[in-house]
């Protein structure tokens, strides 16, 4: 398998509420209060990424990737179906910013999204290896399963770093 070629491939774009599982690079662009959650299987070099918008699904099932409470079990189950073991999973998350302070009903959705993700992961006895959440700035998150599950976060000025 030629890993560099995979790494240079155009990433799969994960829009709001969407998810993807595989070994190809994935990217969620312009996360504000949304969360980009990545789960990497370090034994199998595959991974899953989801672009979560809201904390609670309140019983809705048509877009499970949109809500923290349904997105986390969705990815864990899909990875499990593909043969991943819980102990091999490396979880990272980024996003959950508050772009507009003191505005509108100011529900601080970003913070609630991050809290819900943490809570559901804790229920599943999975710890978060790295996270970069909160603040006032948008983030673009890229995920490279074949490159050791590398996760990079880019800000509006173009500066990127690994988490």
């Amino acid at each position: 398998m030629s890993e560099p070629s995979l790494q240079n491939k155009m990433p799969v774009m994960i829009g709001i509420g969407e998810y993807h599982i595989g070994s190809e690079p994935m990217m969620a662009i312009g996360l504000g209060s949304c969360i980009g959650l990545t789960i990497y299987d370090k034994d199998r070099h595959i991974g899953a990424m989801v672009h979560i918008m809201l904390p609670e699904s309140s019983g809705r099932t048509d877009r499970p990737g949109k809500y923290a409470d349904t997105a986390v079990p969705l990815l864990l189950n899909k990875l499990s179906d593909m043969g991943s073991h819980r102990s091999s999973l490396v979880v990272k998350m980024a996003g959950g910013a508050c772009m507009f302070e003191y505005f509108g009903n100011n529900l601080n959705i970003g913070e609630r999204n991050a809290e819900k993700v943490r809570a559901v992961l804790a229920e599943n006895h999975i710890r978060i290896a790295a996270e970069e959440v909160g603040g006032k700035a948008g983030r673009t998150v890229a995920f490279y399963p074949v490159d050791g599950g590398k996760v990079t976060v880019r800000s509006a000025d173009g500066a990127a770093h690994e988490i």
């Binding site: 829009g15 312009g30 877009r63 772009m99 507009f100 003191y102 700035a137 509006a156």
Partner: protein, 203 residues
């Protein structure tokens, strides 16, 4: 909510009237000509939003629609980062197009946004026959998608798609390109359409 072609035409005309007033105020502010595009109406699935409003850095001055319809949706004045500098340079009498934006720029952008949004809403509210007011503004200068996504997340209705009414306002002389975008809640849109249909019947 799907709109018929007649309803789309009516909404386009509403956007046209609002944007024309916003363009006039911008033109007065800059003492220069401001050209206006035909208003576009787009229904966008939230998963595809990034194809319309991407990662680019922009100034967004946002307002909640208030008045007789509380939490009616949002009005967004979208100005690319480059245009934002051009705009505040023109207002503040500065010339460097590559300088960083500071607090003075932020105040100026809030002010321009306020004037444009108020003009847009005054004109549309007058036509519709009810009171619409902009909330106090909020500003971000960051990734445009991140800002829009955050607004969509806090909308009242649980939605998978948004309807965007956008009109481009361009000032050639000062190289300023901006968009005025209305993103109504579904209930607000219904009210708009009902009012417009009544107006057409009675005329």
């Amino acid at each position: 909510m799907k709109l018929s072609s007649v309803q789309l035409d009516a909404m386009q005309e509403l956007g046209n009237i609002g944007a024309a007033h916003a363009a006039t105020t911008l033109s007065q502010l800059l003492s220069s000509t401001v050209e206006m595009s035909v208003p576009r109406i787009k229904t966008v699935d939230i998963a595809q939003l990034v194809n319309y409003i991407g990662e680019e850095s922009a100034a967004l001055v946002v307002f909640e629609l208030q008045g007789e319809i509380p939490h009616g949706g949002y009005i967004i004045i979208y100005i690319s980062r480059k245009s934002a500098v051009q705009l505040t340079n023109t207002m503040l009498g500065l010339t460097d197009p590559d300088r960083p934006l500071n607090e003075m720029d932020e105040s100026a952008l809030l002010e321009v946004g306020n004037i444009m949004a108020s003009a847009f809403l005054d004109a549309t509210a007058e036509l519709l026959g009810f009171v619409m007011l902009p909330s106090p503004p909020a500003l971000t200068i960051d990734m445009a998608h991140a800002a829009m996504q955050s607004l969509i997340a806090q909308m009242q209705d649980e939605i998978d798609e948004v309807m965007l009414f956008s009109t481009e306002l361009v000032c050639e002389e000062h190289k300023i390109d901006s968009d005025i975008i209305m993103m109504p809640e579904t209930s607000t849109l219904k009210t708009f359409v009902e009012r417009l249909e009544n107006l057409m019947k009675s005329s």
